[in-house]
């Protein structure tokens, strides 16, 4: 136990003292603060936009009685169709609208793009609105009455019997991306750390000083805690910024966030996050011990990266509410379940029983894998030269007397 604590303390302090680790944590914390302030920044930008919204391009009203119907700037209103066409041709305007009447227009484009098509659609929609309003007015319905009719609300008594996946989607995506990045980054870190010990010939000193179990588990737990420290620092920074700015959030955003942050879901995410790190890191550690040089690590860990990518894709399918065989089976396979099952649970396609079952299964698999990894690590300690294949290492680690 003392050896495990010593290795853990050393690995943890070495990791969190690294300049790269500190710099990354600070950058991510700044990003979290910025993200927490985004609703305020964008809300004020949208407020500014709505007050003086104008249309893009130039306009010529062939029927002078329609002048001012559309919100174009005066500078972009032309006296003749030729003037407008020339302005589009020489690039002064990106497009030009000739309004013949409320249901007929000619549009000039310098280049026809998806953006200009969208702007053109807005103009057509406004003209259609003006046309309907004018027709209704001629039949005795005032524009205000018409607007009031359009704004008639339909009261919905929403009874969600399962989970509201629309509010959980955002947290699900955040979980998938974070666990994907952290597993890949810290997995690579642990594999490199093991390979470096072998490369620098430190390993023989280590395994004669303490048990391989202490070395593997101390390293895995140390780096898992380092990852949690980093995530914790980022979440704290974002949380503090959120609490400070919370009162300035638009009401819609506040409602959305209060629905999105579900305490039980956060617990499930945290548990699976820790399991994912532990599970993949023991595997990465074993693979790191199979190479003799640090530069061979990336090749050795490629199969695990493939597993992580597949898990990532399955998790995205699950986030969309898919219930096909891939997602269902994947959510029970330990390497995928840590990604998929919490997502299935968050969108309501898995129950508490299933989440507990997959957690137990993953935990058992992690312990078994840790045992195998320790054997591989121990066996691979003094094997130098070309990279050893994983299955060869497993076979030899359990059959060899060495």
């Amino acid at each position: 136990m003392n050896g495990l604590a010593t290795v853990f303390r050393f690995e943890y302090t070495q990791q969190v003292r690294k300049k790269a680790f500190v710099a990354t944590t600070v950058l991510l914390a700044c990003a979290a603060v910025f993200a927490a302030l985004c609703p305020i920044i964008f809300a004020s930008a949208l407020d500014g936009q709505s007050s003086d919204q104008t249309l893009t391009g130039g306009v010529y009203y062939a029927d002078p009685s329609l002048a001012g119907t559309l919100p174009f700037d005066q500078d972009h209103t032309y006296e003749s169709e030729d003037d407008l066409r020339n302005a589009v041709e020489d690039g002064t305007e990106s497009m030009g609208f000739v309004i013949k009447d409320l249901t007929h227009i000619t549009t000039y484009y310098k280049n026809y793009t998806s953006s200009s098509a969208s702007d053109s659609g807005i103009v057509q929609s406004m003209l259609q609105q003006a046309y309907v309003t004018s027709v209704l007015a001629s039949r005795g319905v005032s524009p205000d009455e018409y607007q009031a009719l359009l704004a008639t609300p339909v009261d919905e008594d929403r009874q969600i019997l399962g989970r509201d996946s629309t509010t959980q989607y955002m947290t699900a995506i955040v979980y998938i991306v974070v666990v994907y990045i952290v597993v890949l980054f810290f997995g690579q870190t642990v594999a490199t750390a093991v390979a470096r010990e072998k490369d620098s010939k430190t390993m023989e000193l280590l395994i004669t000083s303490t048990r391989p179990t202490n070395l593997i588990l101390g390293k895995v737990i140390g780096l898992t805690c380092a990852a949690l420290t980093q995530i914790g620092a980022v979440v704290c920074a974002g949380g503090i910024a959120y609490l400070a700015a919370h009162d300035s959030y638009p009401q819609g955003v506040r409602d959305f966030l209060s629905d999105a942050f579900d305490g039980s879901m956060l617990g499930v995410y945290l548990l699976n996050f820790v399991l994912a790190l532990a599970l993949f890191m023991v595997l990465y550690a074993a693979l790191g011990s199979l190479v003799s040089r640090v530069e061979d690590v990336s090749t050795a860990v490629t199969p695990v990266m493939l597993l992580v990518v597949i898990a990532y894709l399955l998790a995205f399918l699950a986030a969309d509410g898919a219930t096909n065989a891939f997602v269902t089976i994947g959510s029970w396979i330990p390497f995928f379940s840590v990604f998929v099952m919490p997502i299935r649970f968050s969108v309501g396609t898995a129950s508490w029983v299933q989440i507990v079952g997959s957690t137990v299964l993953t935990l058992a698999c992690t312990v078994a894998l840790a045992y195998v990894s320790v054997r591989i690590y121990r066996w691979g300690t003094l094997r130098y030269g070309t990279r050893i294949k994983l299955f060869t290492a497993i076979r030899k680690a359990f059959s060899s007397q060495e």
Partner: protein, 332 residues
């Protein structure tokens, strides 16, 4: 304390590399464990340190199985390295803690050895910022951490300059004086002769000699007497010996002849002015080593140990063995 290595066998993938090794090491006496490259020295140490498990045989301390958790062992492997990007004191503290020391004691011990090797000013620096020689001192220091009872050093002098080697020799000597059990391997026979009380020589996984160094040298001397003629007198002395009907073999600057006290007393008195020194012949460890482990490849071995072109057997002709290395003599 006595470490007994008894009938240790080890094979790798069907090839046996250790054949029933048996020898003992006692505390307060330094044991040199010698052998050519690939003879099985490092494998023996690794079995001792439980890096590998031996196929059969045992390692016992005072009759009880060796247990690294119970017996404090300082180990310096042949292929050694440490954390390049970690400060000296941090990594020595780490290794001391792994050996069971408390953090406070570990740090004090680490700083003590850093000071011993004259590296105080680098204590907080990363290992990679040190010269290769200073890095080696730190590697050596880790073997002495935690006041070990047993010290196992695999090629400890490899790569050390004479000054650093002297510092290290002093450290080993102080450990031996403290009653520690010290065993080390080396290719540098001069160090072995200087440092060791006992020697075990291994060849192709088999022990070919083991015991007190002096006894091994005496036995290797085969009752021969060494006469060192003054410069230019070698031929005359040799002729004089041969004229008495006795053998006289050249070995470097020495003439070797079977011991016969009555004859020698008269002969030395007669040729006193042409004899620089004389005494029982004690072959050097280098000669003994080459003789025991492969006379047919003596040139390779000689280059390994960085010394003479000696052909191995003490009674064979030697072309360039220096007198101070090939014999231990008594002054006239």
């Amino acid at each position: 304390m006595q470490l007994d290595i008894t009938d240790v066998c080890k094979s790798f993938e069907g090839r046996q590399v250790l054949h029933s090794l048996s020898f003992s090491v006692t505390s307060g006496r330094a044991m040199g464990f010698l052998g050519r490259n690939g003879a099985g020295k490092s494998t023996t140490f690794r079995c001792l340190m439980q890096v590998f498990r031996q196929d059969s045989g045992s390692f016992t301390v005072d009759g009880r199985p060796l247990d690294p958790a119970e017996h404090r062992i300082g180990y310096l492997p042949e292929e050694r390295g440490m954390y390049a990007k970690t400060s000296l004191v941090d990594q020595l503290e780490y290794f001391a803690c792994l050996k069971g020391a408390s953090r406070k004691d570990a740090r004090r011990d680490a700083l003590g050895w850093i000071r011993y090797f004259g590296l105080d000013e680098y204590a907080e620096k990363k290992l990679e910022t040190l010269s290769k020689g200073n890095q080696q001192k730190i590697q050596i220091a880790q073997a002495f951490l935690g006041d070990p009872d047993i010290i196992v050093l695999d090629e400890p002098f490899s790569g050390l300059d004479p000054v650093n080697a002297q510092v290290f020799k002093d450290a080993i000597r102080s450990m031996v004086k403290k009653g520690k059990l010290v065993i080390f391997s080396s290719h540098q026979m001069a160090y072995v002769e200087e440092m060791c009380d006992d020697v075990t020589v291994i060849d192709a996984g088999r022990i070919v000699a083991s015991g007190p160094l002096e006894k091994i040298r005496k036995d290797a001397g085969r009752g021969l007497y060494a006469i060192e003629p003054t410069p230019g007198a070698s031929d005359a002395i040799r002729t004089a010996i041969l004229a008495t009907g006795r053998e006289a073999t050249c070995h470097g600057d020495l003439l070797l002849t079977p011991r016969d006290d009555a004859f020698l007393r008269g002969f030395v008195a007669e040729h006193f002015d042409r004899i620089a020194s004389c005494g029982d012949w004690r072959p050097s460890m280098q000669d003994i080593f080459i003789s025991l482990t492969g006379a047919d490849e003596s040139t390779d071995n000689a280059s390994d140990v960085g010394a003479s072109d000696a052909t191995g057997s003490p009674d064979a002709n030697a072309s360039d063995a220096s007198a101070d290395k090939t014999a231990e003599r008594t002054d006239k």
